[in-house]
Symmetry: C2
C-alpha cells in the first residue's frame, strides 16, 4: 500500500511515517515511480513503534529492538552478536525499572483518586504548601 493508506489505517501522519523511515524504523519498498510501497505487516509494526516510543524508548533503541520482535516465530538469532545481546539486556533491565516506577506511581495515583473521590470536590483552594503533618 502507499503511504496515504498506511497513514489512514494507523492514524499516523504521512509526515511521521517518512520521519520513522528516516530514523531507520521502517524500510518500505519503492514502486517504479519512487512511491513508497508498504507491506501489510507494517501496519502492526507502526503500532508497535508508536507504543515503544510512547513508552519512552528512543528511536535508536527501537531500531535495534524491532528486528528481534518482528517475527516472533522466526527469530533471527543469526543476526545477534554479543553486542546486540548486551544492548538488549541493558534495555530490558531499563524497561523493568520503568515498569516498576510506573506501576508504583500509577498505584499511588489510583490510591489518591480513591481517596479524593470519597471526599466531595470542593471549590478550588489555594494549594496547601506541605502541611506540617
Amino acid at each position: 500500500m502507499r503511504i496515504g493508506e498506511l497513514a489512514a489505517r494507523t492514524g499516523v501522519p504521512t509526515r511521521l511515517l517518512r520521519y520513522y523511515e528516516e530514523q531507520g524504523l521502517l524500510a518500505p519498498d519503492r514502486a517504479a515511480n519512487g512511491y513508497r510501497d508498504y507491506a501489510e505487516e507494517l501496519v502492526d509494526r507502526v503500532g508497535q513503534i508508536r507504543g515503544l516510543l510512547d513508552a519512552g524508548l528512543p528511536t535508536k533503541i527501537i531500531k535495534q529492538v524491532l528486528p528481534c520482535l518482528a517475527n516472533p516465530c522466526t527469530i533471527r538469532v543469526a543476526t545477534a552478536p554479543a553486542e546486540l545481546i548486551a544492548t538488549l539486556e541493558r534495555e530490558r533491565d531499563q524497561m523493568d525499572a520503568r515498569i516498576t516506577c510506573l506501576s508504583r506511581n500509577r498505584d499511588a495515583i489510583s490510591a489518591y483518586l480513591d481517596t479524593a473521590r470519597r471526599a466531595p470536590a470542593p471549590r478550588a483552594e489555594p494549594p496547601a504548601p506541605a502541611p506540617s503533618d
Copy 2:
C-alpha cells in the same frame, strides 16, 4: 541543605536541579544570601521526579501529580478540583497503557534473549530481510 549537597546526594547535577525548579517541580526556600535551601524530604522528591520523567511523563504532568504523591499519609484532597481528578485519571490510564506496552515488549525481548542465548553467537551475518516464514 544547599544545591551542591542535594546534587551529591541525588546524583542529579545542580544545573538540572535549577531546571526542575524552573519547571515548577521544586520550590526550595532561599537563605538570606539568595542561596537555595532544600529541605530533607526533597531528596526523595528528586528521585521521584527522575523516575517519573524516565517513565515518560512530561514535567507539566509531574507538576500536577507530585503534590498528590508528596505526602502519602497527608493527602491534600482539598486541593483537588474535578479538573485535576480528570487529569489524573487520564494520566493513570496512559500509564496503564504504557505499562502494558512495556511489559509486552520486555517479555518479547526476554524471550528473544532466551532463544539467542541457547544458540551460539555467530559471526555477524547480513540481516535477514523478513524470511517468508
